[in-house]
Symmetry: C2
Amino acid sequence: MQEKVLGVLGGVGPLATVYFADLVIKMTDAKTDQEHIPMVILNHASIPDRTAYILDRTKPDPLPVMVSDAKKLERDGCDCIVIPCNTAHYFYDAMQQSVRIPILNILEETVAYAEKTVPNLRCIGILATEGTVASGAYQTVIQKHGLDYRLPTTEDQASLMHIIYDQVKAGEKADICEFLRIVGALKKAGCEAVVLGCTELSVIRKDFSLTQPELVDSMECLARASIRFCGKRLREPAQADTHLE
Amino acid sequence: MQEKVLGVLGGVGPLATVYFADLVIKMTDAKTDQEHIPMVILNHASIPDRTAYILDRTKPDPLPVMVSDAKKLERDGCDCIVIPCNTAHYFYDAMQQSVRIPILNILEETVAYAEKTVPNLRCIGILATEGTVASGAYQTVIQKHGLDYRLPTTEDQASLMHIIYDQVKAGEKADICEFLRIVGALKKAGCEAVVLGCTELSVIRKDFSLTQPELVDSMECLARASIRFCGKRLREPAQADTHLE
């Protein structure tokens, strides 16, 4: 059987991209180098900021660079593309139209996983960048699944952006108390699950070893989908994966 | 100024490759995504095992795949190539001849850094795979610098291979006591510095937060050289970098 090659359109941000590749390797059931999924990773750090453009169309448009990278991954022999950046999925349709290989959708994978693993799920809290929230992408997918959603208050959203941009992306330690306060507020507002819909938030979850099952990590959902697409087995399948797939 | 793109010929092994990319990002002085070094990473996990081929030429030859990957990196616009695998440098000359862009040499960078940072250095201990040791590559570079070297005993070398292959590459926890015993034996044999000349050993150094200055980490030396080549600044320059560069 021909091995499937995973194309990672990264750089958005660079650290989250590397953490994503690390997750795929650690979650793959492999005992030797050669059993791992072959990957081509474009960590094109200079892609213009996605949130900046979504909120203000006079800012540099990241789409042309991302389309050019997607085509490069296709030309390099990748069988599918993943983009470990939720905000970049604002451009999902345009990007999928630019290549013939499938682009796995981090938002679809995340909401489907929440639905499968969180008991009695009715309402999902969305933690994401202002760009992702403004694009309405998660809201649309959640409603398509017949579920409800909650967003942080305007103040909490600003605080979350500070954590993502001025702490995680800047290589500083995140303010974990403030982060967990924002999560708690969404749970108090009636959410059974809270989506970490920004890969920098996945980095926080890893750095502080947060294991609460109601935190649905979009990066981990995309890693799981990548391993499945490439025909490999998960190292330690979560119960949901064993029972329901 | 046109940005320089770093090409990473990885997969040798996959985990060490990702750790290398992580190191480059963490060691780069950058406050936003866009200030990081753009990278193309080929994590071609199925490259045949290097040590197996060096010790037994009837085994699959990894060179053709590695040359093809090097050419792919050149075609994708990379300005230089790094190979975060010491053993693969057995093929260094053949690979450098196959591309026009420079391939940074992990062995040269590591020995030069040891010479620069370890006071009164006369003798270097070599911890590496059997393939690297058998190729004599580190021995040659060390002697070129007018230094002496020591190798582990045959028993210790076998034990080190067990740690690299059956523990780190297999995703298991390394036997840190045994590892430090082997390091200690080299120091007792007269080495002022011990080179971690296998990227899996760099993973151990990170996992157990080993900070002894006499452990010269080849992966970190290659990351430092990459950042310098790409015209970026180190985040927290070691004293040696500040004084001597």
